[in-house]
């Protein structure tokens, strides 16, 4: 009796397996896995922004009749959990592509898995140059990874370009101290700074790398102050609130300028009780800045749906869903190799600028093209609780203004 039931069941199982692909094929959704840091301010925008893009695409009929489905995994900011999530996404949930993390260490851990499991992966926010260097070193294996955000060296280049216009030409500044957290993404950033700041006209007096665990920045600021630089050029992302608040409470008279990822978040004013007043930071987007015609509609839709503003990787994550959908449409397939080929031909005007990837043969293959016509970046400043764009000129909606405790060297 039992044997019969078992036999019957297995027949049914085999039948359903055999039938499944043919039945499901037409309406099979395109699945995109999103592995992100739900508990961090930067990472928490990644999944909602992807969801928003998917809903918009689906509302317009999807991709060649297929819907986009987002599958979200919280990695708790851990590389090990991200790897497990990636394996589960590909092997069990059968995703066609993955949008992963804003932490370089996490993306670097996932890169070999994208190669092994031959699955397209794109990061909306990690910056380490090593991600694209790995692709250049072994293109055949690592071609599945795309770098959907600026590399650290590109970030350094944009900070230096802004520094030349705003600080050297604008304020006659001559010297800088680099202050950055010790992490994978800042190694190439600092090399970039050391190379390009002198070319912009700022002599680098010192270079301070501190542990991301640092809580008391007093010794760091007092050391920087003793060297009398005109500006502190920052490279901070894992930390943000603490150095900013202490900069203000200790009234360090030197402006902070550079990368300060947490300052891109709209909540940073509240997190720091307004201590961020006057902080200058690089970004690819800002509230009210129409980098492209898509930027502001996205911000509005996001705010309407989720009640807050997206972090910097919200913009890129949103664009990446569109880019993957676009690639799948052009390839007319979700086969990984065909998707990669189609992604390489991406030429898409997203929320942060015109996106195209560097070609095979470039040392930063699959990194974003930057510069005129592509992504130029912005330089914003916190003023009275608002993020005001001060660079480049054609997109500026305000002028630099420092809090009263800042003593510019020209006035000192």
């Amino acid at each position: 009796m039992h044997k019969h039931i078992l036999g019957l069941l297995s027949c049914a199982a085999i039948a359903s397996y055999a039938l499944a692909p043919t039945v499901a094929h037409a309406a099979d959704p395109i699945k995109i896995g999103v592995i992100a840091e739900a508990q961090s301010v930067a990472g928490s925008s990644i999944a909602p922004a992807a969801q928003l893009a998917a809903e918009e695409i689906n509302a317009k009929g999807g991709v060649n009749g297929r819907k986009i489905e987002i599958v979200v995994y919280d990695n708790h900011s851990s590389a090990a959990e991200s790897v497990r999530a990636f394996q589960r996404a590909v092997n069990e949930d059968k995703v066609n592509a993955v949008i992963a993390s804003y932490v370089s260490e996490v993306v670097l851990a996932l890169e070999p898995w994208a190669a092994r499991l031959k699955t397209l992966m794109i990061t909306p926010g990690a910056a380490s140059d090593v991600i694209t260097q790995n692709i250049a070193k072994d293109y055949a294996h690592n071609k599945y990874t795309f770098h959907g955000y600026l590399t650290s060296s590109a970030l350094a280049g944009q900070v230096c370009a802004a520094a030349k216009d705003l600080l050297v030409d604008g304020e006659h500044m001559k010297s800088a101290v680099i202050m950055s957290e010790d992490a994978a993404w800042t190694t190439p950033l600092d090399q970039g700074y050391e190379a390009c700041l002198p070319k912009s006209g700022l002599k680098v007096l010192d270079h301070i790398r501190f542990s991301p665990d640092t809580t008391d920045f007093t010794p760091i600021f007092s050391k920087i102050e003793s060297q009398k630089p005109d500006v502190i050029v920052t490279g901070i992302s894992h930390v943000g609130t603490q150095p900013t608040v202490q900069w203000k409470s200790q009234q360090v008279p030197i402006p902070m300028f550079g990368i300060s990822s947490q300052a891109t978040n709209s909540t940073f004013w509240k997190d720091t009780n307004g201590a961020t007043e006057g902080v200058l930071y690089q970004a690819v987007s800002g509230p009210g800045v129409a980098v492209t015609p898509r930027t502001l509609p996205f911000v509005d839709a996001y705010q309407k749906k989720f009640g807050n503003l997206p972090s910097y990787c919200g913009y890129t994550s949103y664009d990446e869903v569109y880019m993957i959908a676009d690639a799948a449409r052009r390839a007319n397939s979700t086969n990984s190799d065909k998707l990669v080929d189609a992604m390489e031909k991406t030429d898409y005007v997203g929320t942060i600028g015109r996106v195209a990837f560097l070609p095979k043969g470039d040392p930063h293959v699959h990194g974003l093209k930057t510069g005129n016509g592509y992504i130029t970046g912005l330089m914003l400043q916190w003023q009275d609780g608002k993020q005001v764009n001060v660079w480049p000129k054609n997109l500026a909606n305000g002028k630099i203004r420092y809090p009263s405790f800042i003593k510019l060297s020209s006035a000192r």
């Binding site: 010794p219 409470s249 997190d271």
Partner: protein, 291 residues
Amino acid sequence: MLFWQILIDGFAISALYALGATGFTLIFGVSGVLNLSHGAIMVAAAVAAWALAGLMGAGPYASAAGGVLIGMALAMATYFVTVRPIQRSPRIAESEKEIFILTATLLWGIIISETVAYFFTNNAKTVLPIVEGVVTVLGVRTPTNEFFTAAICWVAIGLLWLLVNKTRQGKAVLAASMNPRGVTLLGIELTSIHLAVWLIYGLLASIAGILLGMFLGVSSYSVGPLTASAFSIVVLGGLGSVTGSLIAAYVVGYLETATAYLVSPAYRTIPALLLLVVVMYLRPQGLFGRR
């Protein structure tokens, strides 16, 4: 200049350490409980104060007071949810209760810190400072809030000393920390002493957490290091000895500050931890330990 800077900066941070560790050591002295949710309670109090100011628009005093209340409520919850049920459970062998409580408070601390991270993200928060501005003392430009922090810490410690040494209830607490059984023989209910000690602990830990939030900022990442620093200060000073903890707090605070200024901020905590290892070898009961 550098000397004065280390002296001033170290004083404030040490005062904070002292305040945080005092409550921790008091509980251990009286009830033998090592509360590993210590850091989580400090952080929760600070984040609550931040949230009251930032999200609900309360002023600095109101938000600090609200943070203290929430911190105290959490300390009491720690006692009633994790400590007391184990202390009273007939199903756990007496000899194993200590390790059960240790594990329970550790898990409780993780629950608190994950809850904070879930609702308020793990980005650092800073509490609205009660005093703003800077003063220049001996050529060192110091935030006024640092002096305020040190002053509050010492007032709180001073009040605790008065309470313990000059009031009847306080003397009972002190007696209980020396000999719990003796106190019960005198007809004093040990449970009410435990309750009082947890209340005092909650008050001290919350104040320390909120001051730390004003001074340096806290996040759910601070939970582990805060518990660890209280633990090592208390072990260094001698488990259960309040005086020992106060002195150890200053030793650790100054050692850390001097390292940060003279060597590198990256190695800040290392010498203090090495000192702890050395003390463990040479004087396992700690600098002022009785047992």
